[in-house]
Structures are given as structure tokens and as C-alpha cells.
């Protein structure tokens, strides 16, 4: 195993391995520490962070579907101040790279949080969440309009030198357009995909299970949608693309990597099997060994 190079480079900085935990599914890092060796992760993408504290949406916030999960958390987070005072001391003890998922209602929200992250030592980089379908002001309009997105990314780029990842929405006709817009505006990497707009109806109460009506769909059901989005994005840009959506097995992650992803994130499945990211990682290593690959980057470019 020692032969294989699992590191991933983004904007000149390295991640120790390609498997991270998806934003919103792993809190700010500590909640899962009794259950998995979090320092063995390739990266921890935090829950979205906004300037102000947000309580989140009216419950219930979750609904199960066939092989999928609808969530409507609504960017519930402690806000920038509490993050700095309460979360950062915990993050300092984690050696896995911390990537902070940043959200906001306005461009200045994003800038405020990114400025703070640039100064915050334990933060490896940021992931701009321009694709949350679960709040009225969660950045989704940035994610679905390439010109708006370009303006936002360019503005944020000015205040941050750390790796800047832009997380794209699958709720578009052609994902290569926002992908190119983000690259041109200075993003260091992309991640695809956020959740898909979805609804479940309680046919007995005759109301949506989630008070807002729609929420975001994640889980194994969306894997093939995410793989297609990564393939199209990776073909459209030169910067690295991170694959996320529906990964529950090493084979799923390998689909993303072969389709052009430089790294992956696991989300929903770790609720059920907390060890998922590390099981996926060792499966990737095993595949690479059996097939004679020396480094992750060799997995791309077959189609």
C-alpha cells in the first residue's frame, strides 16, 4: 500500500486523501469523533456558516424517500462569532483538513465569512455554497445564474487566498455553464452536487411532510445524477472537481473518480454507516493496487 499516492492537490495545497465528509452531514467535526477516526479523513467540510446565527427551518426537517433523503435544515448554524469562539477551539485539535462551507443571502455575507476564514488558522479552505435549495436566501440564485455566480466568486476571490471551492447546484439545464463561470472568476476547484429540489407528500394529512413544501434530495438515489454532473463539469473546466452525491460504497466513489473527480465527499450514507468514508477510502486503495494505479490523478481521462 505504501506505494500508492493518495494525496490530492488543490491550488497548491494538499489533502491527505480523496475522501471527505459532505457539508451539513458531519456538523463541525466533533460529533462523530466517538464513532470514527476523524483524523483519517481526507477533509471535513463543515455545516454551512453564515455571518449571523441561523436557527434553521421549522420542523419536521427530514423525509425518507426510496433510497433517498429529503432535508430542509435551512442553514441552521451558530453564526460567525460563535463559530470563532466555540467551534474553532475544537477544530484546532483536529488534524484532518477543515473546509468551511460558506453561505449567505447577499454577496457581502459571503465576503464577511470568507474574510474571517482567511484569518482563521485551523481552516484549510472554503467551499462556497451557492446551491442550497432549502432557504429563500441561501445562495441558490447565485448557483443557477452564471453571471451572478461569476460576480460573487470574483468578489470572494479578492478576500481569500486559501483554496476556494465552489459547490454547484444540479438544478440547472447544463452544469458546464456555471462550472466555467466559476473557473473564469477564479475558483480553485468545484464540487458537484448539492441536493435536488424534491417533495414528499403525506397523503393522510394531505400536506407536504416538510413545512416549506420542497427540500433537498440526497442519498443513493442521486448517485447517477452526481456522476453525470461531475463528468460534464470536469470536461468543461481545467480546475479540479470534487464529486458528491449518493456515495455509499467504494465502487460509487470510483465512478466519480473515473468520471473526472479529483476527490469525493460522502454525506447521507454516513448517517447510517458512520464508517462509510474510511471504508470507501480503503476500497479505493484496494482497487488502485489491484489495477496498478500509482496515484489518484491517473484514474481520470478514460472517457
Amino acid at each position: 500500500m505504501g506505494q500508492i499516492d493518495l494525496t490530492v492537490t488543490i491550488a497548491g495545497k494538499t489533502l491527505p486523501n480523496p475522501v471527505g465528509t459532505a457539508s451539513g452531514t458531519f456538523g463541525f467535526g466533533e460529533e462523530y469523533s466517538p464513532l470514527i477516526d476523524i483524523n483519517a479523513l481526507g477533509a471535513i467540510y463543515t455545516k454551512a456558516l453564515t455571518p449571523e446565527e441561523r436557527p434553521g427551518n421549522t420542523p419536521p426537517r427530514l423525509a425518507e424517500t426510496t433510497a433517498g433523503l429529503i432535508n430542509s435544515i435551512g442553514l441552521a448554524n451558530p453564526g460567525l462569532n460563535k463559530f470563532l469562539t466555540e467551534k474553532v477551539p475544537i477544530l484546532q485539535n483536529i488534524t484532518a483538513p477543515i473546509i468551511v462551507n460558506v453561505a449567505g443571502a447577499t454577496q457581502s455575507d459571503y465576503i464577511k465569512v470568507c474574510e474571517a476564514m482567511e484569518e482563521c488558522a485551523p481552516v484549510w479552505g472554503v467551499e462556497l455554497n451557492v446551491s442550497c435549495p432549502n432557504v429563500d436566501h441561501g445562495g441558490m440564485s447565485f448557483g443557477t445564474s452564471p453571471p451572478l455566480l461569476a460576480r460573487l466568486v470574483a468578489a470572494v476571490r479578492k478576500v481569500i487566498k486559501k483554496p476556494l471551492i465552489v459547490k454547484l447546484s444540479p438544478n440547472v439545464a447544463d452544469i458546464s455553464e456555471p462550472a466555467r463561470a466559476a473557473e473564469d472568476a477564479g475558483a480553485d476547484a468545484l464540487s458537484c452536487i448539492n441536493t435536488l429540489t424534491a417533495m414528499k407528500v403525506d397523503i393522510h394529512r394531505r400536506k407536504p411532510l416538510i413545512p416549506r413544501g420542497t427540500g433537498g434530495l440526497s442519498g443513493p438515489a442521486i448517485l447517477p445524477i452526481g456522476v453525470a454532473a461531475v463528468w460534464r463539469s470536469a470536461k468543461a473546466v481545467k480546475i479540479p472537481v470534487i464529486g458528491v452525491g449518493g456515495i455509499s460504497r467504494p465502487e460509487d466513489a470510483l465512478e466519480y473518480l473515473l468520471a473526472g473527480a479529483c476527490a469525493v465527499q460522502t454525506g447521507t450514507t454516513l448517517f447510517t454507516h458512520p464508517n462509510t468514508p474510511l471504508r470507501v477510502l480503503s476500497g479505493i486503495e484496494q482497487y488502485m493496487e489491484q489495477q496498478g494505479f500509482q496515484s489518484i490523478s491517473e484514474l481520470h481521462g478514460f472517457f
Binding site: G68, L69, A76, S248, F271, T272
Partner: protein
């Protein structure tokens, strides 16, 4: 004895594979499972819960939460009602089968105040944690009021000496005829400390009674959960809070809450 988990550090949870020791029907559509520690003994308090991985993941997708109904050196147990795909799998389990459990999770019931009489009220699936609590509090001489629509829906359980049980059925086919609230009307609750788990309308009625009587009341809520460990914010319940909307996580701050700290009018 039980420890007060409120405002204290949580013991870390663990995830293990356990062997089914027994799986018996205790009422119509309701069973009790006992699982061995298999070398990983822990000490959950009443009101805490575990989650079980679905055997046919991803159908269903999420782990299913169940409150402990017992835990001793031989293993632990919980009581389940058959509702959907997750619980249907439970009914199939046979002694020797293996299951993936994760626990102990959440914050359980606090011990009663001195000089108060614990009154425990259970409806439906709330019977599991209430049974475990009654056993833990048996020296306090708790009163347990359990309700069901009819006699064969009332779980058959071996209550220890010291616990006074008042079964109620809506159709009068066993115990007191009426709801648990009817039974409580006939009871002296002036020194009560209320503990309740069951359908939300029942818990709300107990909460209101406790308010009237100016007595403490602890409720264990049921909310759909994804992570169970406080990471996803999915299990939020609305807190009583004049200053704006705030939420508590049923899986971490709960499932047991001081009833006065919850918003009941949603």
C-alpha cells in the same frame, strides 16, 4: 439509580454488532427484543436510546431509533411497534441473528425531586423507556399509568415489586375504562413529578395537567432522525422561547425535555 444527564457531559456512544438473545411478542403488533453486549457493555440511562442499522440498506435508508427498555449485565432490550419497513425487519429477527446498534444516545430522564412521587405515563411505543424508568425508580414507589385502545394492545410486561401499575383501555376491555388522562383525574397528583412518553396529544395533556398542578413534567419526544448524534440538525424540536424561534435537537439535548421548555402550540 439513574444519573441526571441534564447539563452534564455525555458518555461517548459506540457502534457494535450484537447478537439477538430473544424476540418475543408482548402485544398485538408489538415486540420486545433483547440483545447481548458481546463484549461491549455500556450503561444507558432510562430515556436514552439506540439506533439500529437497516439490514437491507438503502431500503429503508436511515437507522431507526429505539429507547432502551432494559439494560443489565446480560444485555439490553427495547420494545418496538411494527409500523413500517424498519420495524418490519425487527419482527423477522431470530435469536442468534446479528444487528448493528449504536448507543447510548441522547439525554435521559432526570431523577425525581426529593419528596415528590414519580408518576409515569406511557402510551403506545412510549412503554419501553417508561418501563426502564419505572424499574430504575422502583424504590421511589412510582405509579405507572399505561394506556391503549384495547386489552390486546397493552404490552405484557413483568413489572418489579414496588411499581404500581394502572392499565387503562379506551374500550374498557382491561383495567380502567378510559384514557390515561381519565385515570389521572382519579389520582392524587399534588406531589407528582410527571414523566411521560407516547403520542404527542397525550404528552401535551400531561404537560397541561402538570402546569395546572404546578408540578415538574418530563416528556420524551419522537422526531425523525438522520444522524442521531447531533451533527445534522434534522431532529429539531421547537423550544419555548419568547425572544424568537429556537430549536433543540431531539437526539442530543433530548429526547427527554422539561415540558416547559418546549413549544406545544405548533
Amino acid at each position: 439509580m439513574i444519573q441526571n444527564q441534564h447539563n452534564s457531559e455525555h458518555p461517548p456512544c459506540i457502534q457494535r454488532t450484537g447478537k439477538i438473545l430473544a424476540n418475543r411478542s408482548i402485544a398485538r403488533g408489538c415486540g420486545e427484543i433483547r440483545i447481548g453486549w458481546n463484549g461491549a457493555e455500556i450503561h444507558p440511562s432510562p430515556g436514552q436510546f439506540l439506533t439500529l442499522a437497516p439490514r437491507r440498506y438503502p431500503l429503508p435508508l436511515l437507522r431507526r431509533p429505539y429507547a432502551y427498555s432494559s439494560a443489565d449485565s446480560s444485555g439490553f432490550g427495547f420494545i418496538y411497534q411494527i409500523r413500517g419497513p424498519g420495524s418490519a425487519e425487527l419482527a423477522e429477527l431470530r435469536p442468534g441473528d446479528e444487528t448493528d446498534w449504536l448507543g447510548p444516545l441522547g439525554t435521559g430522564f432526570p431523577p425525581p425531586e426529593p419528596a415528590s412521587r414519580p408518576i409515569l405515563i406511557a402510551g403506545g411505543t412510549g412503554i419501553g423507556p417508561i418501563f426502564y424508568l419505572a424499574v430504575a425508580l422502583k424504590e421511589h414507589g412510582p405509579l405507572v399509568v399505561t394506556g391503549a385502545r384495547e386489552a390486546n394492545l397493552l404490552p405484557r410486561l413483568h413489572w418489579p415489586p414496588g411499581v404500581h401499575v394502572l392499565p387503562c383501555t379506551e374500550d374498557g376491555s382491561a383495567g380502567i375504562a378510559g384514557t390515561v388522562m381519565d385515570a389521572l383525574k382519579e389520582t392524587d397528583t399534588s406531589s407528582a413529578e410527571f414523566y411521560t412518553c407516547g403520542p404527542a396529544p397525550m404528552m401535551e395533556a400531561v404537560h397541561k395537567l402538570a402546569l395546572e398542578q404546578n408540578r415538574p413534567c418530563w416528556v420524551s419526544v419522537e422526531e425523525i432522525m438522520a444522524c442521531g448524534v447531533g451533527a445534522c440538525q434534522g431532529c429539531a424540536v421547537s423550544a419555548a422561547d419568547d425572544t424568537g424561534t429556537t430549536y433543540q435537537r431531539a437526539c442530543l439535548e433530548g429526547p427527554v425535555f422539561n415540558s416547559r421548555k418546549l413549544k406545544w402550540d405548533r
